[in-house]
């Protein structure tokens, strides 16, 4: 299954015996030791290994946390705090697990952007890419379910928003929402099922990861040139020790960053409101998901208009799910035969634009949709006196400094009491986050459309003949005139 000839020779009688019955050592040898890997992989290729470590860390810490956690609306919040106070090194387990989710997503985003840049989704790796998208979807579900468990204010009200999305689906929405929550509203039964599923899904992820690695080992890795391996001798090195040591170095550097968060800023990625126990009667002023879901939250809220029979809420939900669904069909959107963006100068610019769009969408997701994007550009707010003339509402507006206020006051005083005047501050119109979100949403989908268009008539740079030759050329350029080998 690994697509290369097995070089394993059983050394002992037991190994020979086992090899005829279950060639598991041969399998491990072929996939993890001798697997031929392109020699030109750069540091953007370490995130597969980083993600495997993240998954293992989350499962191990999660299993231990589950031994101490209490899935009940009365006890969940206190039990999480008890883990941090009374369980030996419970604070460490809990902070690794909560920050680990963020690290997992950080790594998966870098892994996905790497795949986008080097065309890892193109033939013959479409299935590999799609399994990866399935893993990403499972990760989002798992993270969302897990965020519910501390039973803080953001847990509760965030879950309310997300389960509410299913309620927007026509005809079946309401029943579906009730079915998910296990009742008419979020309660103990919801918390218990979320806990059960939060424990289940990581193992589904682990299963999908095995498929992902299988699908990787049939065609083999891509590489920064996008040129397939032609000569195993010249183009590749065995996975061990070459990539075990390189990945291990990358993983440890990643863990250092991880440890900075765990030990020195354990709550910085969370939200203060989640240290307030959930209270259905008090809604936080500003409900936001965790940072890694913010871009999708921005797309959800960007749609504020109805389209024919589809109302704004449903349209937002459709766009949000479409923004993930589009990744599944990406292999057929991109019409270019050249894999690596390195040789696609036009598409490359659009790729960097896409990265910026994703980051900016995250910014929009964190902001209040009605706030101005650049407050300095917003004009002065105006004072509006609202009153009634013979029962009909009327208003008059004042702009300016202190004299505007005096004028408004004088006008109010001149009105009869029956006019019931009241003073209101009306902010000047501004370019708000909901406008920016809409533009960015269009750009997000536009990127995939552009991949289709650009690929049809694009002038690409000449591809190297082989991995081996491109490595030699880069080496020469480097020693020649210190041009950074890209």
């Amino acid at each position: 299954m690994s697509g290369h000839e097995s070089t394993y020779t059983p050394n002992s009688a037991f190994e020979r015996w086992l090899d005829k019955r279950l060639p598991i050592i041969r399998f491990a040898n072929d996939t993890m030791i001798t697997f031929p890997t392109p020699k030109n992989l750069n540091y953007w290729y370490i995130f597969g290994g980083v993600l495997a470590v993240c998954l293992a860390v989350q499962i191990i810490t999660g299993v231990i946390l589950a031994m101490h956690y209490e899935a009940s609306v009365d006890g969940a919040f206190a039990s999480v705090e008890r883990i941090m106070r009374d369980v030996p090194f419970g604070w460490l387990l809990r902070y690794i697990h909560s920050n680990g989710a963020s690290m997992f997503f950080l790594a998966v985003y870098l892994h996905m952007f790497r795949g986008l840049y080097y065309g890892s989704y193109k033939a013959p790796r479409e299935v590999l890419w799609i399994i990866g998208c399935v893993i990403y979807l499972l990760m989002m579900a798992t993270a969302f379910l897990g965020y519910m468990l501390p039973w803080g204010q953001m847990s509760y009200h965030g879950s309310n928003v997300i389960t509410g999305l299913f309620g927007a689906i026509p005809l079946v929405g309401e029943s579906l929402q009730t079915w998910l929550m296990g009742g008419p509203s979020i309660g103990n039964q919801t918390l218990q099922r979320f806990f059960s599923l939060h424990y289940l899904l990581p193992f589904a992820i682990a299963g999908a990861v095995i498929l992902h690695i299988w699908a990787l080992h049939v065609p083999g890795n891509t590489n920064p040139t996008g040129v397939e391996v032609q000569d195993i001798e010249k183009d590749t090195v065995p996975f061990h020790p070459y990539y075990t040591v390189k990945d291990a170095f990358g993983i440890v550097v990643f863990l250092i960053m991880f440890a900075v968060f765990v030990f020195y800023a354990p709550d910085v990625l969370g939200h203060a409101d989640n240290y307030v126990e959930a209270n259905p009667l008090v809604t936080p002023a500003h409900i936001v998901p965790e940072w890694y879901l913010l871009p999708f939250y921005a797309i959800l809220r960007a749609i504020t208009f109805d389209l024919g029979p589809i109302d704004a809420k449903l349209l937002g939900v459709i766009f949000m799910f479409a923004s993930i669904a589009v990744l599944f069909v990406l292999p057929w959107f991109d019409t270019s035969k050249v894999r690596s963006m390195r040789y696609r100068p036009v598409a490359r610019q659009f790729f960097f634009g896409f990265v910026a769009v994703c980051l900016l969408l995250g910014w929009c997701g964190a902001a209040n949709p009605d706030d101005p994007v650049i407050p300095a550009l917003q004009g002065e707010p105006s004072l509006v006196v609202n009153y009634t003339v013979d029962g009909a509402p009327a208003s008059s507006s004042y702009v300016g400094g202190h004299e505007a206020y005096d004028a408004a006051k004088a006008f109010m005083a001149s009105l009869p009491a029956a006019a019931a005047p009241s003073l209101e501050v009306r902010p000047a119109p501004a370019f708000a986050f909901r406008h920016l979100s809409l533009i960015l949403t269009v750009m997000y989908f536009g990127f995939f459309a552009m991949l289709f268009v650009i690929g049809l008539g694009e002038k690409t740079k000449p591809l190297p003949e082989s991995i081996h030759k491109s490595v030699l050329k880069a080496k020469k350029a480097q020693s020649g005139n210190a041009v950074p080998a890209e």
Binding site: E81, V253, F352, A356, L383, V471
Partner: protein
Amino acid sequence: MKTFRILAAGLTALAFTGLAHAAGGAKHADGPEAGWPFEGITGKYDQASVQRGYQVYKEVCSSCHGMKLLSYRNLGEKGGPFYDPAYPNPNDNPFVKALAAQNEIVSPTPNDVGEFELRPATPADRFRSPFANDAAARAANGGALPPDLSVITKARHGGASYVYNLLTGYPDFSLYEDRVSEVDGETVYETVIDMSKFDKLGKYKPEQTSYLLQPAGQYYNPYMPGDTRPNYGGDPRHAPPGGFLAMGPQLTDGRVEYSDGTEATISQMAYDVAQFLAWAGDPKMQARKEVGLATMVYLGLLAILLWFSYKRIWRKVEH
């Protein structure tokens, strides 16, 4: 295209700075001028201050605010304010026992005849709750529920600085003016504050006399998230930052008498109690930073070793 990339990078940088000031209309909590001793990668709680803070909590705050996630034994645990290395088990620490015994609690377990009797607390007991339940707490506080303080510094933007600024941020009593008026034959008592005399507002201080009306049973504080516009007599575009809360100013000079001779000024008591609450919310902070340092050194050395292993293994491979 190049300009587009520069523009995108600039906007991204803006996005990160934008995230920094997401909080609403309240004044930013800067904390005490000298900062906190527990900040930074080697910062520790000032044990004497945390001890004094416990006294402030016990004598002032605890009449309304519970701390249900804490037990008296926590006070004597490693990193706690009354930790004594001679008593690794805080339940044996006579000082902690005495502190616990100062509180009379309803026993959480029934006695021989099935009754829940009143008894002095032991180190194993949870902090005494001032009210039997939320309804009783609301009834005693004009409908407002005093929040539990166990993790208050983690549950508010600004943490200990927020607590410190809130407690010291109230207008001085001398600024409160009582107004009595007749409305439809009924006497109405109102409290107003002249914002032009309120020095703590800094740049938000109006030049002209403009009054802020305090709703009945509510107190103005510039650090409390909220909206003052409906209650402000002046230009609503320049309404003062902050909002109203049901807790009035609690600290007055000399409200507690510190046994270590420290002068109990308002800012000293606020500083001590904020630090006590920071410890209560994050009692394992010092252990965390110690393990963190060891982890960093270990991972740093491992990274260096792996880097040289990588260089050595790849030395004969062009890549």
